[in-house]
C-alpha cells in the first residue's frame, strides 16, 4: 500500500492550561475524505488547526508525503501551508478585497504570479464554485453560502494536496448549507483529499471514506460510515448521531 499523503502522529496540544488534544494520530490516503465528528469541545477544530500549524502542537509531528514537516524553518512552514488548505467556519474572507482579489492575492504574494495570471486562475476557481458572476463583489455583498464558496475557491487556487474544512456549514442559514455541501461533494468526487469536521451526518454517511469520532481530545472510534452508523451497532458514533437527529426533530 502506498504511503499516506498526510500523517499526523501523536499530536498533543494544551490551550491555556487545558489539555485539548491527547496524542491524536491520524493518517489519510490520497483521495480520501475523512469526517471528524464529536461533541463541541472535543478538539476537532484544534486538531484541524494543528494540522495546518495555525496552532503549534507541543508534541507530535506531521508527515506530508513521507517527509516530516520541519516547522523550525519558516520557509518550509509557509510552503507546507500552501499545500494544505484550510476552510474556516466563519469564512475569514479578506473584507477589503473583491471575490476575485480574495482568490488572487495569495497567488500573487505567495506564488509570485503576475496580476493577470492570478486573476485568470481566480476566474477559473470562482467558476468552479459557481460564482463566476460574483467576482467583482465584496464579501459584505455576498450571502454566507457565497462567502464560503469564495473561501473554497481561494483555498483551491493554491492547488492544495489536502484540504481541511472546519465546520464549513455551521455558520450558515439552513437554506444555504446545500450549495456549499454540493461544492464539497464535487471536490470529493474529483478526488481531492479532505479532512472535514462537520455535524452534517447525511453528508458524512454518503461521502466519507472514514468517520472519526472525537471526544475529550481523543479519537474514540473510527470506521466506515456503514459500520459505525449501522442501526443497533451500539457505537458511540451512532449514539451521538441519534442524539443529533433527536434534537433536530424536537426543534422541528
Amino acid at each position: 500500500m502506498a504511503t499516506p499523503i498526510l500523517q499526523m502522529q501523536n499530536i498533543c496540544k494544551t490551550l491555556s492550561g487545558k489539555e485539548i488534544l491527547r496524542s491524536v494520530s491520524l493518517d489519510i490516503n490520497r483521495g480520501e475524505l475523512k469526517v471528524l465528528i464529536g461533541p463541541s469541545g472535543a478538539g476537532k477544530s484544534t486538531f484541524l488547526q494543528c494540522i495546518n500549524y495555525l496552532l503549534t502542537p507541543e508534541h507530535g509531528q506531521i508527515v506530508l508525503e513521507g517527509n516530516i514537516v520541519d516547522t523550525a524553518s519558516k520557509k518550509e512552514l509557509y510552503s507546507y501551508r500552501q499545500q494544505v488548505g484550510m476552510i474556516f467556519q466563519d469564512f475569514n474572507l479578506f473584507d477589503h478585497l473583491t471575490a476575485l482579489d480574495n482568490v488572487a492575492i495569495a497567488l500573487r504574494k505567495v506564488k509570485g504570479m503576475s496580476k493577470k495570471e492570478a486573476l485568470d486562475i481566480a476566474h477559473k476557481e470562482l467558476d468552479r464554485v459557481g460564482l463566476s458572476d460574483k467576482g467583482n463583489l465584496y464579501p459584505a455583498e455576498l450571502s454566507g453560502g457565497q462567502k464560503q464558496r469564495v473561501a473554497i475557491a481561494r483555498a483551491l487556487a493554491m492547488e492544495p494536496k489536502v484540504l481541511l474544512l472546519d465546520e464549513p456549514t455551521s455558520a450558515l442559514d439552513p437554506e444555504l448549507v446545500g450549495e456549499v455541501l454540493s461544492v464539497i461533494r464535487d471536490l470529493a468526487k474529483e478526488g481531492l483529499t479532505m479532512i472535514m469536521a462537520t455535524h452534517q451526518m447525511d453528508f458524512a454517511r454518503a461521502l466519507a471514506d472514514e468517520i472519526v469520532f472525537m471526544q475529550q481530545g481523543e479519537i474514540i472510534e473510527r470506521g466506515s460510515p456503514a459500520s459505525l452508523l449501522k442501526e443497533g451497532s451500539g457505537t458511540r458514533t451512532a449514539d451521538f448521531c441519534n442524539k443529533l437527529s433527536d434534537m433536530c426533530e424536537e426543534i422541528d
Binding site: 495546518n52 495555525l54 519558516k74 509557509y78 510552503s79 501551508r81 500552501q82 488548505g85 484550510m86 474556516f88 466563519d90 475569514n92 474572507l93 479578506f94 473584507d95 477589503h96 492575492i105 495569495a106 504574494k109 505567495v110 463583489l137 465584496y138 464579501p139 459584505a140 455583498e141 473561501a151 481561494r154 483555498a155 493554491m158
Partner: protein
C-alpha cells in the same frame, strides 16, 4: 475700522506665507507620525513582549509630557547634545511628529484590534508570512478605519504647530504676533489668524472625509 482693515490687508501676504510654513510643519509632523506610528502599532499588537514594553514606554513618555516641555527639551537639550544643528522649523516638525507618532500608534492599534483576526489566520493558512498578512490584509483595512481618528489628529497637530513660536520658527502664529506687536492691532490680526486656522482645519477634515468615503468598502459596515 478702515484703518484696521488696511493693517490686516497689508499684513495678509506675510501671514499667509506663515500659513504655508504652518502647513509644512503639520505635513512633516503628520508624515513622521504616520511613518513611525504604523510600525509602532503593528509592534504593539503583534510584537514580542519586550518590543511592546519599549513601545509602551515611548507612548507613555510622549503622551505624558507637555509638548511645550518637549519642544524645549529637544530643541535646546537633546538635539544640541546629539550635535544636530536643526532649524527651528524642522525641530518643531520633528518634535510634533514624534509626539504624533505616540498618538497615531494608538489610533492604528485600535483599528487593528477592531478587525476580525481570523483574516490573519486565513492569510497564514494560504502560506503568507505574517509580514505579508499584516501588510496586505490587516493594514489596508486598519488604515481605512483610522481615517476618522487621523482627522482628529490632524486638527490637533495644526493647532499645536503654533508652539513653533517658542523656538522662533516663522509660522503663522509667530508672524501674526510680530505684526501685532508692531501695529497694536491684536484683535483684528488674531481674528484673521484664527479664521485661517479654522479654514485649514475645515478643508483638511473635509478632504479626509472625502477620502474616507472614497475608500469605503462596498456593503461593509462594522
Amino acid at each position: 475700522m478702515l484703518e484696521q482693515l488696511a493693517v490686516v490687508l497689508d499684513a495678509l501676504p506675510y501671514i499667509l506665507q506663515g500659513a504655508l510654513v504652518t502647513l509644512g510643519i503639520v505635513g512633516g509632523a503628520m508624515s513622521l507620525g504616520l511613518v513611525m506610528g504604523i510600525p509602532m502599532a503593528v509592534g504593539l499588537v503583534y510584537g514580542p513582549r519586550f518590543v511592546r514594553f519599549i513601545l509602551g514606554i515611548y507612548v507613555w513618555f510622549f503622551r505624558g509630557v507637555p509638548i511645550l516641555t518637549l519642544m524645549f527639551l529637544f530643541y535646546f537639550g537633546i538635539f544640541d547634545l546629539l550635535g544636530l544643528n536643526l532649524s527651528a522649523l524642522s525641530a518643531t516638525a520633528i518634535v510634533l511628529g514624534m509626539t504624533s507618532a505616540a498618538y497615531q500608534s494608538q489610533i492604528f492599534r485600535g483599528s487593528i484590534e477592531a478587525l476580525p483576526q481570523g483574516q490573519l489566520k486565513a492569510s497564514r493558512a494560504l502560506g503568507m508570512s505574517d509580514m505579508q498578512g499584516v501588510c496586505s490584509i490587516i493594514l489596508p483595512q486598519a488604515l481605512r478605519l483610522s481615517i476618522p481618528g487621523w482627522s482628529n489628529e490632524f486638527s490637533i497637530i495644526l493647532k499645536d504647530s503654533a508652539l513653533a513660536y517658542v523656538v522662533g520658527a516663522m509660522d503663522m502664529f509667530t508672524r501674526t504676533h510680530f505684526v501685532a506687536s508692531r501695529t497694536y492691532e491684536h484683535l483684528t490680526l488674531f481674528i484673521t489668524a484664527g479664521a485661517i486656522y479654522f479654514i485649514i482645519t475645515m478643508v483638511g477634515v473635509k478632504l479626509l472625509l472625502t477620502l474616507e468615503k472614497k475608500v469605503r468598502i462596498p456593503g461593509y459596515t462594522t
